[in-house]
């Protein structure tokens, strides 16, 4: 499923690899009984470490640095600071030369965990920031409709003027003012054009 708000470019090849590794990671974490913790750690690794230290990200992704060096680097940096499962997983990735797919793996792991736990990600786009009560109301309504726990992701887009756009997976429910205006214009033009065709003489000025 595409995420409308994904800031990074979409790379289907990495996403495919990511899905496979994520499945393996979740399996290993489940055996250790710490699925939630591992996925949370992985997210934190991306957001709190890699995003802030681009050099580290570059070093880990670089094919010029060998597995031994990367493994040593991972040991020095993370040993004792993260769960054993994730640490070993990072080393396996390093061995397979797949550390460049780490972000895709993290996204896929989060998605798969959501699916396992019956949660669904919903992107909501509004023209103005959502207030907390409104946010809760939307989550409550959507959960009731979908029969699943809803994880709300909010986005802002001033160009849509007003209303609400909800995106679940690849399906968009568009209730924005801007798209309604476009629809209205199209409908008016289409219907008027049909009526012109049906009775052209009504609109002609007899000269």
């Amino acid at each position: 499923m595409a995420d409308a708000s994904q800031s990074t470019t979409i790379d289907p090849r990495r996403q495919q690899i990511g899905a496979v590794y994520a499945k393996a990671l979740l399996g290993a974490a489940e055996k250790a009984g710490q699925t939630d913790a591992v996925v949370e750690e992985l997210q934190s690794l991306i957001v709190d470490v890699l995003d802030k230290l681009p050099q580290l990200q570059a070093a880990l992704s670089s094919p010029r640095i060998g597995h031994e060096e990367k493994a040593a680097l991972i040991d020095r940096a993370f040993s004792g600071r993260m769960s054993d499962v994730l640490l070993r997983f990072l080393k396996v990735l390093s061995q397979h030369g797949r550390l460049d797919c780490l972000r895709a793996i993290a996204a896929a792991a989060q998605k798969q965990l959501n699916e396992l736990q019956g949660r669904v990600e919903v992107w909501v786009t509004t023209a103005a920031p959502l207030s907390n009560p409104l946010r809760e109301l939307i989550v409550k309504r959507l959960s009731a409709l979908l029969g699943q726990e809803v994880v709300l992701k909010a986005q802002l887009d001033a160009e849509m003027v007003g209303g609400l756009v909800v995106r679940i997976g690849d399906t968009v429910f568009d209730g924005s003012v801007s798209s309604r205006l476009v629809q209205m214009r199209q409908a008016a033009v289409d219907k008027a054009a049909t009526r012109f065709r049906q009775s052209l003489e009504r609109f002609a000025v007899s000269s």
Binding site: R167, V172, V189, F196, F203, V205
Partner: protein, 507 residues
Amino acid sequence: MKFNAGEIASVIEQEITHYESQLDVREVGTVLEVGDGIARVYGLSGCMSGEMVQFPSGVIGVAFNLEENSVGVIILGGYLEIEEGDEVKALGRLLSVPVGEAVIGRVLDPLGNPLDGKGPVNTSERRAVEMIAPGIAGRQPVREPLQTGIKAIDAMTPIGRGQRELIIGDRKTGKTTIAIDTIINQKHSGVKCFYVAIGLKESSVANTIRVLQEHGAMEYTTVILAGASAPAPLQFYAAYAGTAMAEHFTYGGQHALIVYDDLSKQAQAYRELSLLMRRPPGREAYPGDVFYAHSRLLERSVKLSNELGGGSLTSLPIIETLEGEVSAYIPTNVISITDGQIYLQPDLFFKGVRPAMNVGISVSRVGGAAQIKAMKDREVAGGLRLALAAFRELEAFAQLGTDLDAATQARLDRGYRMVELLKQSQYQPMEVVDQAIAIFAANKGGLDDVPVTQVSAFEKAFLQYMRDVKGQLRSTIAEKKELPADLKEQLLAAITEFKRGWKPAAK
């Protein structure tokens, strides 16, 4: 015509007041990459093969390749405004074109948009571009002739309504001319004509349209144009779009004729698309399903059963060969699909035999069922093919320079005159009665004492004589559509009578 702005405004106002807003629910994806008329789209997880999608610029695309992680979309229109990251919307519909009486006399692009500057196509009826051909229960054998008005074709490779007759030959051998002549000859037959120009120079299409207009043929003809500058997807879909427009009449119990000019360019457009989509190339780099692309198109030509209205769709696909190479991939494919072929040869063309049809290898697998009885008669066109084949054998032998006996010389002489008689200038289709009378006259030795150079003048004068003086006899033959013994005798008498008064023009 002037328009009343106030009236128009009031209609739009009404529409707006009665407008009920509906929640717009759509299936979307994101453009990953775009170029060369194709786009790769991420998402669109529920999209089906052949479904229409829309880009933000309003351009339409068709889902062509469904892959594990992306959807390959072919873009029907300008792809320069599409950018990476654009939202693509699935429309949940199949590609369709406007159909009905309103398309007749128009020049349209493969999506049904007008190209002739005569305003919008005024119809609300649409028909899916890709349709499955009717099965065996919906068909019946071809039984009515479709007169091309060309002597050589109507006599030796007759075409029936619902047949698919391939016109094949090198460049500049008169392939398009045969198709145009056939369209011109449908003037009083009520057959609706569709000319699909694929990958042709727009200047030559403009010329074709002008010829059709001059002969009053645009009144019942539609031109579907995807010229050489049109993107490959449009060139590929043009043939199917034209067929959909023609099928509307077929399924309405009428008769239609469609010319695909030409299918080799369409195959090349399909090859381009497939290679861009990274489908594996096969022979001559064409994709594996290029045969299916042509067979599913030509299978739609049909003579419908009486329960379905008995309409018909006749098709004349054109294939251009290179240096007479008929054993290339696309020509053999299309030859095996069609019900016969008209093979045109450059050497005949330059010898002045026009139409430059090679009688020996041109066939029509429908045969006599597509001829009127007068034409099928053994003394008219019945034995013509074999007689001409025998003549050519004899001619080759005579070139050795041996002395010939009188009987052989006589057969040669008649052969020369027959070849001369079958020549016909372009855009001058002939009525089938005239064709039968002329061929009968030649078969019965009426031309034997006419100098070879005078054959066409004799034919012209004789047919004029038949029309003016023997109008009664001519219209009887036209009415009965057969040639019983008594009519033959009257015809022979007319030939003798005419020759008494006819002198070859002095040089």
